[in-house]
């Protein structure tokens, strides 16, 4: 199922829908294991795919522990450190986090962890909402090449890549095609 088979256009399938399903369920179990007080946890995704992944993880936790865990959205576009250097402005969306973060654990969720700058922007965004007790990070794929001292707490798949390669994540709800993770070689 996960054999790396390269087709002529240089696109390598890394994960299929079932693999994504299994790793997210495993991450849900890990979150339950490391957070004895689940009612204090907020699972906040970074748009667009992070939000869908956060929703799925919350659904798994509900399935396993029968508790409804709070979810949120962290828009990082307005917190990026490269505004004014890109030819295209990132689309900004409204963030949604609980009014009080006091004593809570915020778990940031994104699809791919790469340089770490998006997560840095997410930390900045959370900071303007308040001061949570803890912040953790869950990602579907960690492709290496960190430019900042940022590390994930929960990882779906570790995938060492070359800088020139691209990781493409597709989710049914955000992309309209079956779930998949692909590696595009240049």
């Amino acid at each position: 199922m996960n054999q790396k088979k390269q087709n002529s256009s240089g696109v390598v399938p890394i994960m299929d829908g079932e693999a994504i399903h299994r790793v997210l369920r495993r991450i849900a179990h890990e979150i339950i294991e490391r957070n004895p007080q689940l009612e204090k946890v907020v699972i906040a995704g970074i748009p667009s795919r992070g939000v869908e992944i956060a929703r799925r993880i919350a659904a798994f936790i509900h399935e396993i522990e029968k508790i409804v865990i709070e979810t949120g959205v962290i828009d990082v576009a307005m917190h990026r450190d490269d505004v004014g250097t890109r030819p295209e402005l990132p689309v900004v969306r409204a963030s949604k986090l609980p009014l009080s973060l006091e004593g809570r654990t915020v778990i940031i969720v994104d699809d791919v962890l790469y340089t770490g700058r998006t997560v840095r922007a997410a930390l900045d965004a959370i900071n303007s909402f308040g001061r949570p007790a803890r912040i953790q990070l869950a990602v579907l794929v960690d492709r290496g090449h960190r430019e900042l001292p940022i590390r994930p707490d929960y990882v779906g798949k570790n995938l060492p890549t070359a800088a020139a390669e691209k990781i493409r994540v597709q989710l049914k709800e955000t992309d309209g095609v079956p779930d998949a993770v692909h590696l595009e070689k240049q």
């Binding site: 828009d75 576009a77 307005m78 917190h79 990026r80 450190d81 505004v83 004014g84 250097t85 890109r86 030819p87 295209e88 402005l89 689309v91 900004v92 969306r93 409204a94 963030s95 949604k96 900045d124 965004a125 900071n127 303007s128 909402f129 308040g130």
Partner: protein, 309 residues
């Protein structure tokens, strides 16, 4: 939404497409949320310098732009006409060039001459935002009006909007007309014939001199401020007559549909264009307009000021 913002300036709504207007409104949604955070600041325009250059004075609009800039982490300088070198005879172009030499990134300009923002936008590298030029346009006011309508009624297409008062001298009216028509609303202008010429029908709006005929079918009523002194002298006999014929009194307000929105760009003349109780009533969204003005201006500054030059 795949529309990209590519303009360095915001001079008016006439030249914007419906998609561009919707992009600004969508962006304002995101920035409205910032006002509810504990720390109402995002670093989007950190290190950028914004100059509020108000040759025609204003406290409300200037304060709104100032606050919007602070929330985006920009640095703000305020220049008003009395304190500026314009009184010493320096031309507008030279004053602006001097500001640019100080590396101002965004210039928010209010001027009594129509076209002044365009004039500067063509000559400066900085982004120029029109905060009102003569009787020409006041794009951010119309944008916040559109945002407020969209927020309360979810869409603008198909709504009937009545704009009431001094249309002739109103840049707010003009910008609103352009924006509303582009987004598919039906617009009726109402006021004394001296202040609402039939000529305006050429823009694609209706004109009426009988407010009671228009109110029952209006989904939104936007009341414009009556500028007492000049108008009383020249355009209608007196405030009393204006109130009797065109004021939104308590009795007239009963003609409105229950979900009709009552809007006013401010500052309101209680008892003139609008009855005091009506201004504070349930249908009035006047204070929402102020809050939304901040979000809309943050969106405009972000879009115009954030593009790589």
């Amino acid at each position: 939404m795949t529309t990209r913002w590519t303009r360095k300036d915001l001079l008016g709504l006439r030249e914007l497409s419906a998609d561009e207007i919707n992009l600004i409104l969508d962006t304002a949604d995101a920035f409205k949320q910032v006002g509810t955070r504990e720390i109402k600041k995002v670093p989007a325009l950190r290190g950028k310098t914004l100059v509020n250059f108000f040759v025609e004075p204003s406290t409300r609009t200037r304060t709104s732009f100032e606050l919007a800039a602070f929330r985006l982490s920009a640095d703000v300088i305020n220049i008003s006409t009395t304190s500026s070198s314009l009184t010493k005879g320096e031309t507008l172009k030279d004053t602006a060039r001097n500001l640019e030499a100080l590396h101002a990134d965004i210039l928010v300009l209010r001027h009594s001459s129509a076209g002044a923002p365009q004039f500067l936008a063509n000559r400066l590298r900085a982004s120029v935002i029109n905060a009102g030029d003569g009787a020409h346009e006041h794009p951010t006011q119309a944008l916040l009006d559109l945002y407020t309508i969209r927020e309360k009624r979810e869409k603008i297409a198909g709504l009937h909007v009545a704009i009431i008062g001094d249309i002739l001298f109103s840049r707010v009216a003009r910008s609103n007309i352009f924006g509303l028509l582009k987004l598919g609303a039906r617009v009726t202008l109402v006021g004394p014939s001296t202040l609402v010429p039939r000529e305006f029908e050429k823009l694609g709006v209706d004109v009426s001199y009988k407010i009671d005929d228009v109110l029952p079918s209006a989904d939104v009523v936007n009341l414009l401020r009556i500028q007492h002194e000049r108008q009383r002298r020249e355009y209608f006999p007196g405030i009393g007559e204006y109130v009797r014929l065109f004021g939104l009194t308590k009795e007239r307000a009963k003609l409105l549909k229950p979900d009709c929105l009552i809007m006013h760009p401010g500052p309101i003349n209680r008892g003139v264009e609008i009855d005091s109780d009506v201004a504070d009533g349930l249908q009035s969204v006047i204070l929402d307009q102020v809050t939304n003005g901040l979000a809309v201006r943050m969106a405009v500054l972000y879009l115009c000021g954030g593009i790589a030059t």
